[in-house]
Amino acid sequence: MKDQKKKKPLLTGTAIIKKVLKESGNTTLFGYPGGAIMPFFDEIFGDNKIRQILMRHEQSAGHAAEGYATASGKLGVCMTTSGPGATNLITALANAFYDSAPILAFSGQVNTSLIGNDAFQEADLIGATMAVTKHNYLVKDVRDLGRIFKEAMHIASTGRPGPVFIDLPKDIQLAECSLKEPIPEKINLVGYKPNVYSKAAGRQITHALKMVMNARYPVILAGGGVSISNAYQQLTELANLLKIPVVSTIKAKGVIDDYHPYALGAIGMHGRQRSNFAVSEADVLLAIGCRFSDRITGDLDKFPGQGNAKVIHIDVDAAEIGKNVPVDLPIVADAKLALIEMNRQIRALKGKKKELKTNSWWYRWIKEMKENDQIPNIVEKGPEGGIYPEKVMYELDRIMNPRDIIVTEVGQHQMYAAHYLKFRHPRTFITSGGLGTMGFGFPAAIGAKVAKPRSEVWLIAGDGSIQMNSHEMATVKQHNIKVNMIILNNGYLGMVRQWQELFNEKRYAGTGLGFVRNGKQEYWPDFVKLGEAYGLKGRKVTDPRKLGKALQEAKASKETFIIEVATEKGSNVLPMLPPGGALSSLYNREGEQKSIYDYYRRLPRTDSELKEFKSVRVNPIK
């Protein structure tokens, strides 16, 4: 009798997984069932502590987990079945990999005895996901299961975060674990010790400060890493202490208040002119948590500062340092820890009453440049009667609360949103940056809303992107998740169409989503009607004056509301860099090829020039 009392019932594989997830507080799961993952779905059935959100496609489950992770800063969890279920997940894993989002993904697999035999719904997911995950596991013994899940969560969310995938054979899920402690207390990964901070980094920071303070035109470039490591307060403090301008990548939107006088906005192909100008003129670039993708650097030979600037690069991933841009001063550290140390050192210098040697003229110039750089009057309607996307962003910016979350798909609308919307808080702009995945936005918006139920979530989509995962309308209906959908319908794959107009002599190959009948442009589908089919309400807006009202209506609605905007089909996101061009080259708002120096004055390079420059009161903008 005594023995029986002591004996705990053995845990099955699925029970172990549930226990690990619950103990770590990851109880929101996005997924899609199937034969090989049935045991796990059965395990969580009826458990009111676990929220399982049934998506309509495995890719969406992955994106939703990423939206959830990005909005909350926590781990996103998704699961699918074997074979096609898991291969559908790969795009989402790749997207999370490029944008460094902490995702735990697991999929069912055929029984261990069948692996390698081309069984029904078998696919080699370890091989297939190797290049798009931070790490992956195939579980071959139920006694490893608890350890693997704990390790996977640790790997996914520490250092530079990323997706971790676990392949989970069905027999392992059902097997009973004979171990006394199926879930180890501690994990020990000998080969994985992310270097988040070291004394060496502290010394490098001292050198970095010297470089920045001795620079004439220093610029801070904030990347997605600042957002991931929650270093936004430290970043703002640094900008205030040093009084130097901050430009950002698109993934870093919101890490510094867009209304901050030194916050210039995004750089790169679709960046703001003033940001591209600042980086083109910089002599020291302090890059924090960014990976210098080709979309932000333009021509590498002329980046930054026409190729003459010194680069300080802070990144937690040592492999990012020096990968694309040669770095003069590498600092391997977590952005937040590095910035805390940097600010501490600056304050210590101030405490010694050593005057900070910053170029006060530079930041006044920057401030003035920002004050003078107003977005030109917004034209509401185009020559073909469609509403300009700028107008939509303008109206949305007026109505949205600073804590609202904006999620975008990929394309022109994404760039319009990045250009025209003002972000004041971190984690309020969620977009697919590195991989550029159309279809990312809608499921990510669902994930974001699940993570932040009290924030309004606005999805900005194009008619092309939304059709990649529009079936998720069923998900929002079923789970009563409110997403305010704004679909800019211009009947084109707009971004590609824009490139065709600018670079392919207006040969619009494969980009039209509608056609002209009896002199009238027709588009499919009617998104409001599509929403109706899923039981959702919506409104089609053709008159720009009615935009504001429709947005209010969406905001006031209790469930997902669709606003379809009849968008001008020929509208282009400008200015933009020509592909392969330097940051200082651009196509202006009229689509003409120009140089940034047609708009901004080139800055003096010597002291005497500067003196002369200072004596004359000149407007930074020509």
Partner: protein, 181 residues
Amino acid sequence: MVEGLVHPSCSVFKTAMEKTEKEKRHIIAIEVEDIPGVLSRISTLFSRRGYNIDSLTVGNTHKPGVSRFTIVVRGDDTVLEQIRKQSQKLVHVLTTEYLKRDNAITREFAIVKLVYDKKTAIGINELVDLYGARMLSSTDEVLMVEFSGTEEKINLVFEDLKAFEVLESLRTGKIGMRVGR
């Protein structure tokens, strides 16, 4: 210069050295946890990032559960640095290090099967003596010989073997170890 065995005065050896320097061939040693799939992780990384592998060898070490790769790659210093950092990021990779010509000893190993008859015996015997090779087996006028040494030496061996009738041959990739602690 630590690499030995081939007469350093040998001109062929010198040109081979110079050529290697110019083409920027690098040797990188990677110690990994000996876990199934670790080879494919390394090779996936290399192919995905477009690194050119000249040779790759892997085997156990004295430490239980630890294997060691010696990989010869081509590329400039930036590429090499990337390779090392990207490899280091893999969860099962324990250590990575460069093996430079002036601080490491490298070896290759070759087995050759060749016709060994009255006509060729003397020549082959000379060759075996010259390169300090070992005869492994000799049956029915077929001889198997084992050579080991630097890559350059093995190159010379294969050059000299052209004078004989080789039936089969193989050479391992490079293995190497840093000198000193």
